[in-house]
């Protein structure tokens, strides 16, 4: 027999207490893992969506709103800009690419984006089936949009006015799906893409031809990083348009939400501490119950150090099991969230940056919780305990 077997036998004997202790630790670790994982992946996701886009140009208004609507497709646009002005900008010497976007309609909650194949190329989405859109009213669906709409090449769909589900439908202008994209893990997965002319044609039919052709926004990549110094200011002061930098707005948003992330980390720490307290309570209760067992071990010749090793080893083992279970539960929770909200494009099994720390902390809290009980064992009056019975 080994010390390990002695500890194992005890906690097997007290399975309920052991299970509850492990579960409480696991719960703290799980919530910490899931919360931090969610925050981390959403941040990474935002970075993926904005990668390579140096500047977004759209109608004047809130720069954050412009970025949210044109890059993340998560807000209503600030308005429209004149096609002429946009085309001038596309030819600007400092601009390497400028992808036009025309927004306004949606299908089944997925946005219909009038654009050029350049947008798809930018996110690097290969076709899963069918072909690229060519003429007006042809559409290519992002992977998730296609899955949710159960649509593929050859199918038709009706656009609804507005960004939300349930807007007035454009029944007389059905779109024809000509292709479906492979998943990219970006916002592209949740879009229905079509030539910009489709959007013009649908709205011309409804509101009469516009006096001037308009688009919603331009996604711009700089020819040189130096462009950042002059181009945005030039646009913001000398045109009717607004230029906003995704990197800057995301940083602003992150600073705003940074407090939230810190709060989340704090909550995680509190939950881990609660797990440790539960462990302490369990160990203290166990110790009172085991006082006699431990006195017997001393009577059989165990040094106080040997008994302390037993107690600390047990608390470490319980905490380690709790930590491992907690990481599994945490990723399980992420998997459940990913399943519930596929739009978030979470990868539930991707390791989280703080994961190692959470595990180390949880495992360290075990012996920390065990220290005091172990000290009490060390100080125990063995003779007295033995004659008390």
């Amino acid at each position: 027999m080994t010390l390990f077997e002695v500890g194992y036998a005890y906690w097997r004997h007290k399975r309920l207490a052991a299970a509850l202790t492990v579960l409480l630790t696991a719960l703290g670790v799980a919530i910490a893992t899931a919360a931090l994982g969610l925050a981390e992946q959403l941040t990474a996701r935002a970075a993926r969506d904005a990668r390579g886009i140096d500047l977004v140009v759209g109608a004047k208004g809130s720069p954050l709103q412009l970025i949210l609507s044109a890059v993340f497709h998560a807000d209503v646009p600030t308005g429209n800009i004149a096609l002429g002005e946009a085309e001038t900008l596309q030819r600007h010497a400092l601009v390497r690419f400028a992808i036009p976007l025309a927004l306004g309609d949606s299908v089944g909650g997925f946005r219909i984006v009038g654009t050029t194949p350049d947008l798809i190329a930018h996110y690097g989405g290969p076709m899963a089936s069918g072909r690229m859109f060519g003429s007006s009213m042809e559409a290519v669906l992002g992977a998730e949009a296609a899955r949710k709409l159960r649509a593929g090449p050859g199918d038709q769909f009706i656009g609804a006015h507005g960004m939300a589900e349930g807007g007035p439908a454009h029944h007389d202008h059905p779109y024809e799906v000509v292709g479906v994209l492979a998943p990219t893990g970006t916002v592209l997965d949740r879009l229905a893409l079509t030539p910009i002319e489709s959007v013009w044609d649908v709205h011309a039919a409804h509101q009469g031809p516009a006096p001037e052709r308009e688009i919603t926004a331009l996604l711009i990549g700089y020819r040189t990083p130096l462009a950042a110094a002059s181009l945005p200011r030039q646009i913001n002061t000398a045109s009717r348009m607004q230029a906003a930098s995704p990197a800057f707005e995301i940083a602003r948003l992150a600073a705003l939400m940074g407090g939230g992330l810190d709060a989340l980390r704090g909550l995680a720490a509190v939950l881990l501490a609660a797990g440790a307290l539960a462990m302490l309570a369990a160990l203290v209760a166990a110790l009172d119950e085991r006082k006699t067992d431990i006195a017997v071990m001393r009577a059989l010749g165990a040094s106080p150090g040997r008994v302390m090793r037993l107690i600390l080893g047990e608390s470490f083992a319980l905490a380690a099991i709790g930590a491992v279970l907690g990481l599994a539960f945490g990723h399980g929770a992420l998997a459940a969230i990913a399943w519930q909200a596929p739009g978030a494009a979470l990868d539930p099994w991707m390791p989280i940056a703080e994961e190692g720390w959470i595990a180390v902390l949880a495992m360290a809290l075990g012996p920390a919780a065990g220290l005091w009980p172990a000290w009490r064992v060390y100080r125990q009056d063995v003779a007295r305990t033995l004659s008390e019975g």
Binding site: M1, V6, A299, L300, G301, A302, L386
Partner: protein, 209 residues
């Protein structure tokens, strides 16, 4: 085996133990008697090195235990002393086999599986090694507790009130068993009791007052 000189122990200001000279030789069986509160258990705790006496010299197997470090005393207790408690104190979460294995494990001695199996068989518990103490009768528990105290082949076996709450027949059985098994491993035996019924089994007695 045991030599006591000028032993005194007091809890606070109250003296509970005073023995001027006492000697137990190798293989002897002694009875320590006295009324309740006369210090019998206290004496056993001192002999076991679980309690430091207020004054006096105690030698176990030639070693002055007052001169030993805590660690050395723990080691001496593990290797040379076996203890049987009135309440037996088998560990409820461990099987009988594990309860016996606890002795070498805690003493830091090599595991004695062969000796353990042999003892279990001798106790008529050969097939019940995986049972837990709660599944045993009081008499069986008594035998397991004694077996645990003897596994490490101690030189001194201490028993505190081993026959309390036993009927006459079992009192005789336990007394006989203690004396026989201590003799078998060559251990000196010191039994503390206020139970007059077992006195006839012992040739030597120390009376505390």
């Amino acid at each position: 085996m045991v030599r006591v000189d000028g032993l005194r122990h007091a809890f606070g200001s109250r003296q509970v133990l005073a023995i001027d000279r006492w000697q137990v030789d190798r293989g002897e069986a002694w009875l320590v008697r006295g009324a309740s509160g006369s210090g019998k258990s206290t004496l056993l705790h001192v002999l076991a090195g679980l309690l430091r006496p207020s004054a006096g010299r105690v030698e176990i197997d030639g070693q002055d235990i007052g001169a030993l470090s805590d660690r050395q005393r723990d080691a001496l207790r593990g290797a040379a002393i076996g203890i049987v408690f009135q309440n037996l104190h088998l560990v409820p979460s461990l099987t009988l086999r594990q309860n016996l294995s606890l002795a070498p494990l805690m003493a830091g001695l090599p595991s004695a599986s062969a000796a353990i199996e042999q003892r279990l068989a001798r106790l008529g518990l050969g097939r019940r090694g995986d049972d837990r103490p709660a599944q045993l009768s009081r008499g069986e528990m008594q035998r397991v507790a004694l077996a645990r105290a003897l596994i490490n082949r101690p030189k001194l076996l201490l028993a505190d009130e081993p026959t309390a709450s036993l009927d006459d027949v079992n009192t005789d059985l336990v007394a006989t068993m203690l004396i026989e098994q201590a003799a078998e491993v060559g251990a000196a035996l010191v039994v503390a009791t206020h139970d007059a019924r077992i006195a006839p089994h012992f040739a030597k007695a120390l009376t505390l007052s």
